[in-house]
């Protein structure tokens, strides 16, 4: 276990092994996303209340799940980077922040698109949407801090601290926003809480979630590999790769 952990810290080892993982994740992402989208849009039954507009949850829910778990992964990686000084964890933090922000934005956007036919308005101060918006702000904070600090390892450590502080705050923010929401507009129609969703609806949703995670893995691997090449560009093994591409 420890040997694996230490090898994982070595950028070269990760670069090699992630190159082998990439096609698998890529294949899985294409397969599940294609199946999921076709299934969700063509074969899943329409909702008896909302008709076809409910189908946006097949994008919205996976994006929202990923947006939240990405922040958590970022904070955990940040903690690993701070405690064990693992370079790879630093690179992950840097690679993950914009991706997580994009998924958060996607979740907000699809939420708004769904809100238009359902609530008759683009934006509702629904507890989940508001919490998502604050999550987007937290992502922007991490990205802005990274952009402001020139030194790579200082930027990584500082954003790791911020991500950890954010992680502690996320449950508090969620709780207070939900409390605030019930205070101001009681009993709204919840976006995703559908009692007893039939299997024809949730199985494609599950496929989409898997698809989103695989896609996320591909993007993160590519971004981390890029970061590794940039950070390690003076080492012999990176030069060998560059030379072999030039030829």
């Amino acid at each position: 276990m420890w040997a694996f952990f230490h090898r994982l810290g070595s950028p070269k080892w990760f670069y090699d092994i992630s190159g082998k993982w990439l096609p698998w994740f890529g294949g899985l992402a294409v397969l599940t996303l294609a199946t999921g989208i076709v299934w969700a849009l063509l074969y899943a039954p329409a909702d008896y209340q909302q008709g076809n507009s409910f189908r946006i949850i097949y994008i919205h829910v996976p994006a929202a799940i990923l947006a939240q778990s990405c922040f958590m992964m970022m904070a955990v990686a940040g903690a690993i980077g701070l405690i064990w000084k693992m370079k790879l964890a630093d690179m992950f933090v840097k690679a993950a922040a914009p991706v997580g922000a994009s998924f958060t934005f996607l979740a907000l956007f699809t939420g708004a698109v769904w809100g238009k036919p359902t609530w008759g308005t683009w934006w509702v101060w629904d507890a989940r949407l508001t919490a998502m918006l604050i999550l987007l702000f937290l992502y922007f904070g991490v990205i802005a801090l990274q952009a402001a600090i020139e030194d790579f390892s200082v930027a990584a450590k500082a954003s790791a601290v911020l991500a950890l502080v954010g992680l502690v705050n996320i449950p508090i923010i969620k709780y207070s926003v939900e409390w605030w929401n019930t205070l101001h507009q009681p009993a709204t129609f919840k976006l995703t809480e559908k009692p007893a969703m039939p299997a024809e609806m949730w199985v494609p949703l599950l496929v989409m979630v898997i698809g989103f995670y695989s896609f996320f893995a591909v993007v993160i691997l590519l971004r981390t590999r890029n970061e590794i090449l940039e950070r390690e560009r003076r080492t012999r093994w990176v030069k060998d790769i560059v030379l072999s591409k030039v030829k």
């Binding site: 604050i134 904070g141 200082v154 500082a158 502080v165 508090i172 926003v177």
Partner: protein, 237 residues
């Protein structure tokens, strides 16, 4: 010339006296630059008076919005003063000496934040009833507003210290702090204003105050720790 010989067992200052020295120093510095202390206060008053001018001077609107407006203005005024928490000490090298002190940085940061709250938070609290009256809040609600600010503003200073510590070495500091810290202020804002709305509609407020108190306890335990870590990271640059 005789000098004390180097020895490992020189009696060190106790934690309390080191914190006391830091607090005393920061208060003395604030006193010497006391004209600077008025700026956030003035800002506080001006922001609050913008709302009747910008939205509506009607009594019903001001009564419902009053607590929120005072809270948002207090929050922004705190934010404005945060950049000075570590920056001046960072630039003249005094912070270096603090980071290298043989005391847990946690407690020195705590002392500095306490000093910051004494010179920015307390005046805001003292001034808040005046603004509350201007917003037509009634006499029963004013003490509740003050009480929420009394529990809430230390949380603002504590969380803000993390942002100030993360950005202390950066040129863009001021604006960036707002970006980092404002989302984290949202729970305090919600419960601060929520308490006052509850009081306005005649509901008991002890539960809300307890939640605010819990936030203060959490911020007291974790924020100086994060801010201390952030300071060490900022010195790595």
């Amino acid at each position: 010339m005789k000098h004390p010989l180097p020895s490992a067992d020189t009696p060190m200052a106790s934690l309390w006296s080191a914190m006391g020295a830091t607090l005393k120093r920061d208060l003395l510095l604030a006193f010497r630059r006391r004209q600077d202390l008025f700026n956030p206060l003035l800002f506080f008053v001006i922001v609050v008076s913008l709302f009747p001018l910008g939205v509506s001077p009607e009594k019903t609107f001001l009564q419902t919005a009053g607590a929120g407006v005072v809270w948002v203005a207090a929050l922004l005024a705190t934010l404005l003063s945060l950049d000075g928490l570590f920056r001046a000490d960072f630039e003249d090298g005094a912070l270096e000496q603090m980071v290298l002190a043989p005391q847990p940085l946690y407690f020195l940061v705590l002392a500095k934040v306490f000093a910051h709250w004494l010179v920015t938070g307390i005046p805001l609290i003292v001034l808040s009833p005046v603004l509350g009256i201007m917003m037509h809040l009634d006499g029963d609600t004013l003490p509740i507003l003050m009480l929420t600010l009394l529990i809430g503003t230390p949380v603002l200073s504590l969380i803000g210290a993390i942002g100030a510590a993360l950005t202390v070495g950066l040129r863009v500091g001021g604006v960036l702090i707002s970006l980092l810290v404002l989302p984290l202020y949202i729970p305090v804002l919600i419960f601060g204003t929520g308490t006052v709305s509850a009081a306005l509609s005649g509901l008991p407020v002890t539960g809300y105050l307890a939640i605010l108190g819990a936030m203060l306890a959490l911020a007291l335990t974790l924020s100086p720790f994060a801010a201390a870590a952030a300071l060490r990271i900022s010195f790595s640059n």
